[in-house]
């Protein structure tokens, strides 16, 4: 199964609203099939089919859905086994065992949040629902181990099959993890742009960093986690992933760039806590103009993926060459901004050259 060369640069051309609607249609069809089966089978636990479909589509991305299919089946089996074992062995003899449930629930969630293992998540959800029913229901005879375990497991298999069938037939290109990956790349760079913007304001105008800054940092961390997770999912979508050298190199370059950008941002944040901007190096207006261009670059990476080039890196490099202020925080700030700009230029030009055959556009001057 091959999708041909996957172009990294088309992140600006995605019609997100259209894709979301297509995907919503696919999920709604899958769920409706589950509801129809629920009514037509007319069995006590047939709602499990619709619930499995809902859980399968809970996190978006085809790679994610394929990856989670196996975990869902295994997790359901283990979850049902543990839940019914708990009910039939412990709670059957003494109801006070139920007091232990919140503690088990808490420990299991801790374990899931640390490991991020989807199988554990499924075990938890699977245990939770029958246990809730048992606690609230007076007629516990409906939870006989053998029948319920077998029927619910079969329903899970049916639910997983329906979800996969719909995912691969109805608007099959609407929910690719690779699309989300590309979108997250743009979001990540845009977020870095926002962080830089706040840092610039703080450094040049002496505006104190507030909760907004903390929020942006938090967003940035989420983007990195999301990119890593989507990267893992993509391997399940493209079976020729390993052979696709340009693509592999592009992703490798992306993660190296992210690591460097994070390191430089950390240094910038450290500089902010010290001295303010020193006008001996450059006027405030000029400096603001240069750093704003770097911020703009990060916020609009799409243009640079299409071959746009500027001379912000060279201009800020000329500021670093003023040697009489090497220890000043302004010099250190310039240096970090220079590296950030250089990392960005390297990455965007690499993407452009790898996926386009035409030459880069003429360099645009940042200073009028």
């Amino acid at each position: 199964m091959s999708y041909g060369i996957i172009i990294m640069t088309d992140s600006y051309r995605l019609n997100k609203v259209k894709l979301t609607r297509q995907q919503a249609f696919c999920i709604a069809i899958a769920f409706s099939i589950g509801v129809v089966l629920n009514f037509s089978l007319n069995l006590p636990h047939a709602y499990w089919i619709s619930m499995t479909i809902a859980l399968m589509f809970c996190y978006t991305g085809r790679g994610s859905i394929i990856r989670r299919s196996k975990s869902r089946i295994l997790g359901t089996f283990l979850g049902l086994f543990f839940a019914f074992l708990f009910i039939n062995t412990f709670m059957y003899s003494d109801y006070r065992w139920a007091y232990l449930l919140p503690f088990i629930w808490f420990l299991a969630w801790c374990f899931y949040c640390i490991t991020n293992n989807y199988t554990i998540y499924v075990v938890l959800i699977t245990m939770f629902i029958p246990l809730c029913f048992t606690i609230s229901s007076s007629n516990s005879y409906v939870f006989l181990l053998n029948n319920t375990l077998a029927i619910r497991f079969i329903f899970t298999l049916i639910g997983v099959s329906i979800a996969l069938l719909c995912e691969f037939t109805i608007y099959k290109k609407a929910d690719l993890s690779f699309r989300y990956f590309k979108r997250e790349i743009r979001n990540y760079f845009s977020n870095v742009g926002d962080v830089l913007n706040l840092c610039n304001k703080s450094f040049i105008h002496g505006v104190a960093l507030d909760k907004k800054f903390a929020g942006e940092i938090k967003k940035q961390m989420n983007k990195i986690v999301s990119l890593e997770s989507l990267y893992l999912d993509m391997a399940y979508e493209y079976y020729d992933w390993v052979d696709n050298k340009p693509q592999e190199l592009a992703v490798k370059k992306l993660f190296i760039s992210i690591e460097e950008i994070n390191f430089r941002l950390r240094k910038i944040i450290c500089i902010l806590g010290h001295e303010d901007f020193d006008e001996a190096v450059c006027t405030k207006e000029n400096f603001l103009e240069i750093v704003n261009i770097i911020t703009y670059k990060y916020k609009h990476i799409g243009y640079y993926f299409y071959g746009r080039v500027d001379d912000a890196t060279e201009v800020i490099d000329s500021l670093i060459k003023i040697k009489n202020s090497r220890l000043a925080s302004t010099y250190l700030y310039c240096k970090e901004m220079y590296i950030l700009s250089k990392v960005f230029d390297d990455y965007s030009s690499f993407i452009y050259k790898t996926f386009n055959e035409t030459e880069l556009k003429p360099v645009e001057s940042v200073l009028n």
Binding site: A24, C110, C132, F133
Partner: protein
Amino acid sequence: MDTIKKIFFLSNFFRFIHSYDPTSEYFINALKFTIPGCIGIFCLIYFRWPSNFLIFFSPPIIMAGTLFYIDYKNKIINMAVVSLEMMIGQFVICVFYKHQVVLIILLFLLFLVIYGSRKYRMGGGFAVIQIAVCLGFPPGWYNGVEGCIGILIGFIISIISLLLFEYFTARFRMRSSLRDCKIIN
């Protein structure tokens, strides 16, 4: 400190300690999923409400939707949207249970709306789980309204829990996250 760690080969030990740091996000998230449910069970037992298990089933689902948002405003809006979706789903299923074609069409439209919204689809995905579970509930107007009341109480419990959690844990959680991504030592 780094040198000391290297000398005594303690870096692995510190990494282990940091990953299981109780001020970290995982611990708070686990509490978020446990405490509101426990409060729901307490309410159910103490006030002797009829067997409406949605009071303790809905808070973890409502709370799960908040994980995808950073600011309070979006978290609260998302919680309200998830609760509303759950209530509509519960009510529609209970009322139209005997009119299956109408029910399927209504649910189809509801899911189109839930998953078609780009902003609230992640939280809405959790609401759909609860809607699916509702298919196993006893039908009827009375049960539908009772379920809606259960979800409403669950929403109130969740929102109080969220505000308390954010108030007490925001500061050290932020510090822990910053340390985790190596922005501070």
